[in-house]
Symmetry: C2
Subunit: 321 residues, 2 copies
């Protein structure tokens, strides 16, 4: 089994690669090669199979052709310009998030190899005048360019799959928390920072009130779901291959209480509260009352409690002191 | 008021142009120029204002730039590769229907003039596992490339409008019947042919059973709605500028009965019944139980009866014997 992760240098890409290295199998077959591609050369990985790292600009069809090859059987398409970045740089967002997705699908179509393509969409596809709860047949009404680009990606994944050019599956990721590493340009970045930095003994800023509700998933469960997502039998996907990935709704207060329950009262004292209207304008348009019935039926899972998310961070990611 | 109709050589484009010529006004202002652009030079038009006809390939940004100019205030974007054609020619469908729409919007963004853009989407955006009735917040789940391309166009119209680059509005057209002229490559083409040809004394083939239900609008009402659609105040469009255009559900039997009620029993005898699985596969995935509440609230209208549709054809379109 030859696997390509586009966005293989990112947090989810690296964790997915590590999990594949541990498993050694995907879709019931031994993994023979894993290619990690990203805009900057991804970190290498120890694995019981061949691992290549390479740069790739998905906005460039020739660059895509260099990583999506005749023997590529599974493509994880995780690369994206994230939400606040796509809102600032309109052109880059459409070029990378829409045209980049199109380039990958066109390359697969041209090859005629029908690879499995796992596409990460986002709950940012929801917004505007749609009633709660968000169910599997709720209208995608994004109120950011990032959300619009992800919704276009879903339509492309579905149509290229319907025509048999790829075996696509898309998953609308909840906000991933606790996300390790540095803050990024996602508007949701603070939803990890306010936990990660205090757990590392550093201050962090919370730009919203503590009753702000949102929909979360741990990186560990996200990776498990992405692997399951590749393994769902094609026939079970029905007439829409894109679905919510399960998560859970918690308020900022519940996140902080979970951190305190696991790590004691000190970290919470490092959170500074500072309203940021630009961030609020984006994140308050997002939805949080989700019913991901299709994904749950297909075996995907949310976390059991946010205490788990905190523990996963401490076990998997907290830098050694 | 300078108006551009892209797709100005088509049935709807020509009727829209004629209606604008009669009115002389749009959005409360006198029309000073109307440009009709299409892949082949559109038929000219007598009007109390300047009318230009020109060719335009919307897949080519330079060609789009030649018709969308600094003084273009209203753009009707009607041009498309139709359903069965887009199903046969996958590349042409995406190139014209997605990239063509993108080219028009990008041209407007570059000019910085914020034209009003009226985009014709289609009820082909609906399909698959979504419950009836279809309401304003029903998931767009197209089961044809044409439907997918129209759904992408809606996302583009919404995001370019949200950013203030255009004042976009999109309307999901019901099947237009009785459509004058020749059959086209839309899978729905027979839904006019089985009335138009018999009303003109010619035979026609019906490829589905007479209990096949579908959602219809007359060309006359469609044009009225497209004019109203340009005139809706921007503030009334809310957080999703695309909506169903009102129509009504009738079965093939009801269409034929209406024809008989208006034109006597002879025309119906000219219909030959001949099942066509390729056409059935496309049209049976379409939806017909629609509740276009938003559009109705904004003043758009369906036909009162299919007898009206038959009468409109006889009054507006039937060729002289």
């Amino acid at each position: 089994m030859n696997i390509l992760i586009i966005g293989g240098g990112g947090v989810v890409g690296q964790k997915l690669a590590a999990s594949l290295a541990t498993r050694g199998l995907l879709r019931g077959q031994p993994i023979s090669r894993l290619v990690l591609a990203d805009v900057v050369d991804p970190a290498p990985l120890a694995a019981p199979f061949e691992v290549q790292t390479t740069t790739c600009d998905i906005a460039d069809p020739a660059s895509v052709a260099s990583v999506v090859t005749q023997d590529t059987q599974v493509i994880y398409l995780l690369a994206a310009i994230v939400s606040a970045h796509a809102e600032e740089d309109f052109e880059a967002g459409w070029r990378i998030n829409m045209m980049g997705t199109l380039n990958v699908l066109e390359r697969a179509r041209t090859l005629g190899t029908k690879p499995v393509v796992i596409f990460t969409s986002s709950i940012a596809v929801y917004g505007g005048e749609v009633p709660d709860p968000i169910v599997d047949h709720t209208f995608l009404n994004p109120q950011t360019s990032y959300g619009a680009q992800k919704a276009v990606g879903e339509l492309l994944i579905n149509d290229y799959s319907r025509k048999g050019f790829v075996d696509g599956r898309g998953f609308r990721l909840p906000t991933i928390s606790v996300r390790p590493g540095k803050p990024n340009r996602a508007a949701s970045s603070f939803m990890s920072s306010i936990l990660r930095e205090p757990l590392n003994g550093q201050e962090a800023i919370c730009p919203v009130d503590d009753d702000f509700p949102h929909y979360y998933l741990s990186p560990r469960k996200c990776v498990e779901n992405l692997i399951k997502g590749a393994e769902i039998p094609e026939a079970d996907l029905g007439q829409n291959r894109c679905m919510m990935m399960p998560g859970r709704m918690w308020t900022i207060r519940q996140l902080i209480d979970a951190m305190t329950a696991v790590a004691g009262p000190e970290p919470a004292r490092l959170i500074k509260w500072e309203a940021q209207p630009d961030i609020q304008r984006i994140v308050k348009g997002w939805r949080f009352d989700m019913r991901p019935e299709k994904a749950i039926k297909l075996g995907l899972e949310a976390d059991d409690s946010f205490e788990d998310n905190i523990r996963y961070y401490l076990e998997d990611d907290k830098p050694a002191p």
